[in-house]
């Protein structure tokens, strides 16, 4: 957690507009013959929710995975707080304060809820032995605060036996617990009920007060319009449209997603 100290040390200069928390300049990525990202420029500012929209295969998930450090860009620049950085592993993005809720959930089925939440970031004593009780208490806390979903009250239940929505809640709880600066949500509502979805969206909007920005990837333009401050529409690996909420309408956005 050395990163935490460094991150909070960054104080924006008084009077000037602070640089974006995260900025990708002209990044490209190809998988064999498929060009997943073509010269994409994208940024996440302070205290904002960015809606990342587009049809299937537009490159949204690749961009999210790149921000999380799982995918390395072939070319282009990445800046954090205006300074060039390399985000080439999960450890790098963690240092930048980025947490992700993945589309494919990324949970380990045979492990308990608590162990999934703290996987890779176990609370341990100085010899590396885990503090089970502390982790279980925190797991209960975080499960009840972010998206309370009925049926998960014992944190030692195996994740493999949960329903799709419950699994998603665990994935959300994990990201929410460790979030520090940017929360990436890749289709987070696909398995949630209407009420759970509303709770999650309200939570994301509320995170701005805690100085946490979010990027919401979704197919549902109504959801996006509810919480996002800015919209970025992608198509075939490129950014094709970008607008602040005030400058656009839901019809306009729909048009851009469908037409391109």
């Amino acid at each position: 957690m050395q990163g935490e100290v460094r991150v909070t040390d960054v104080v924006p200069e008084a009077g000037s507009e602070p640089p974006p928390l995260y900025e990708a300049r002209n990044v490209s990525k190809r998988y064999g013959n498929v060009r997943a990202l073509i010269g994409v420029t994208f940024h996440v500012g302070c205290r904002e929710v960015v809606g990342l929209l587009g049809d299937n295969g537009a490159g949204k998930s690749t961009l999210i995975r790149m921000m999380s450090g799982i995918v390395k860009p072939d070319s282009g620049e990445i800046l954090a707080d205006g300074k060039p950085v390399r985000v080439e592993s999960r450890a790098d993005s963690e240092r930048l304060g980025i947490e992700t809720i993945y589309q494919d959930i990324a949970l380990v089925d045979p492990m308990s809820i608590t162990r999934n939440i703290f996987m890779g970031r176990e609370i341990t004593n100085r010899f590396g032995f885990m503090r089970h009780k502390r982790m279980a208490e925190l797991a209960v806390d975080v499960l009840q605060s972010a998206v309370h979903i009925a049926g998960i009250d014992h944190p030692d239940a195996e994740v493999g036996f949960l329903s799709g929505g419950q699994k998603q809640a665990v994935a959300i709880a994990r990201a929410v617990y460790f979030k520090r600066r940017i929360l990436l949500l890749d289709e987070p509502t696909s398995a949630l009920s209407v009420r759970e979805t509303e709770r999650l969206l309200a939570y994301v909007a509320g995170l701005k007060q805690e100085n946490v920005s979010s990027v919401l990837v979704t197919h549902n333009l109504y959801h996006a319009f509810m919480v996002c401050d800015r919209f970025v529409v992608m198509s075939h690996g490129q950014v094709v449209f970008e607008a602040a909420k005030e400058e656009t309408t839901i019809e306009d956005l729909t048009d851009h997603v469908i037409r391109t």
Partner: protein, 354 residues
């Protein structure tokens, strides 16, 4: 062991307090369901109770409780048990090691020849320690090679270690020839690794001690948590920032080291080592792990399960010997037990959280 306590505490807090037999049965049932080794523990206790009853009723025909019988059975557990601890942890991390049986022989033969011929020979009390240390070092190195090849080239560990199994099986013949090697160390090596204590021998105590250590690492250390994560869903582990290559390399190294140690313990007990002695042990140790509830595809299992699985295999072996059944019955019984144990564990787990 300690995980059991943890799971028990949480359940105890939630279930309604009840007293008397009902409460005991209720708690037992909950315990069996929520523990990975629950099914096998029940099977083990039932078998022990049956055998003890049989031994009490027919003390002359069925000498199960005879101290000599207990001593021999307990003594035979250690080599396979120590090996299985490593094999089980590696399986939980999602990989196999078929070369442990060959390593068991190779490392023991290597340790014996070093101790016999170098550092002042076997008369020097220190030379067996040096030999054993080098043997275990070779085991760890061989495990690292298994892991590096498997991960570096992205091939199944089943294939890698099938290859290294044949390599070490041939290697031991190249190094030493087919003749047995004597190993007659002086104190303190001999009593430390081949001594007798009441009904137990030092090998068995090493097995129990190592099981406790492994249990702490696997169930309470973050390294063990990473074994489960990598074996359970490697993509998720990567996404959350765990390096599977590092975790698996450690697991391979532990497995190789424990295989070498088990060979040395077995050799010390019988004072000699046969170059082909470990052939087939790799499959028997996988069998013991599977019987103890370790999932073949990784991500699931426990040290208690591995210990009980090994103990169950040897109890059956003992019973068959006492009943004077021909040797081939043993393999048939273990074969059936593997299938029954997996079915049992599977059905208990499916019922536990619904």
């Amino acid at each position: 062991m300690d995980t059991l306590k943890f799971a028990g505490k949480v359940t105890a807090g939630r279930s309604t307090p009840s007293s008397g037999w009902d409460g005991v049965i209720q708690r037992l049932r909950a315990a069996v369901r929520k523990r990975p080794a629950g099914g096998i523990a029940v099977l083990f206790v039932l078998l022990q109770l049956t055998c003890i009853a049989g031994g009490l009723i027919f003390p002359e025909q069925f000498r199960y409780l005879n101290p000599a019988n207990i001593r021999v059975t307990v003594m035979s557990v250690a080599p396979l048990g120590i090996m299985s601890l490593g094999v089980g942890m590696l399986m939980i991390a999602g990989e196999f090691d078929l070369s442990v049986g060959a390593l068991y022989s190779f490392c023991a033969v290597f340790a014996a020849t070093i101790a016999n011929n170098h550092f002042g020979g076997i008369e020097n009390p220190l030379s067996p320690f040096i030999g054993a240390g080098l043997g275990i070092g070779i085991g760890i190195a061989a495990g690292l090679v298994n892991g590096a090849v498997t991960i570096g080239f992205g091939i199944p560990s089943f294939i890698t270690t099938l290859g290294t199994m044949l390599l070490w099986n041939g290697g031991v013949l190249l190094y030493n020839g087919a003749s047995a090697v004597d190993f007659l160390p002086k104190a303190p090596f001999a009593p430390m690794f081949g001594g007798q204590f009441w009904l137990m021998d030092s090998g068995f105590l090493w097995f129990l001690g190592l099981a406790v250590v492994c249990s702490f690492v696997l169930h309470h250390h973050k390294l063990g948590n990473h074994f489960y994560a990598v074996g359970g869903n490697q993509q998720a582990a990567i996404a959350i920032g765990i390096n599977p290559a590092k975790v698996k390399l450690i697991a391979f190294a532990i497995t190789g080291g424990l295989a070498a140690f088990s060979g040395i313990v077995a050799m010390t007990r019988v004072s000699s080592v046969q170059p082909g002695g470990g052939v087939g042990m790799e499959l028997r140790s996988i069998a013991a792990c599977v019987i103890g509830g370790v999932a073949l595809m990784g991500g699931r299992g426990s040290i208690v399960g591995v210990v009980l699985g090994t103990a169950l295999v040897f109890t059956i072996n003992d019973v068959l010997l006492l009943l004077r059944a021909p040797g081939f019955y043993f393999d048939m019984f273990v074969g059936a037990l593997i299938v029954v144990a997996v079915i049992l564990n599977h059905s208990i787990r499916r019922r536990s959280w619904t």
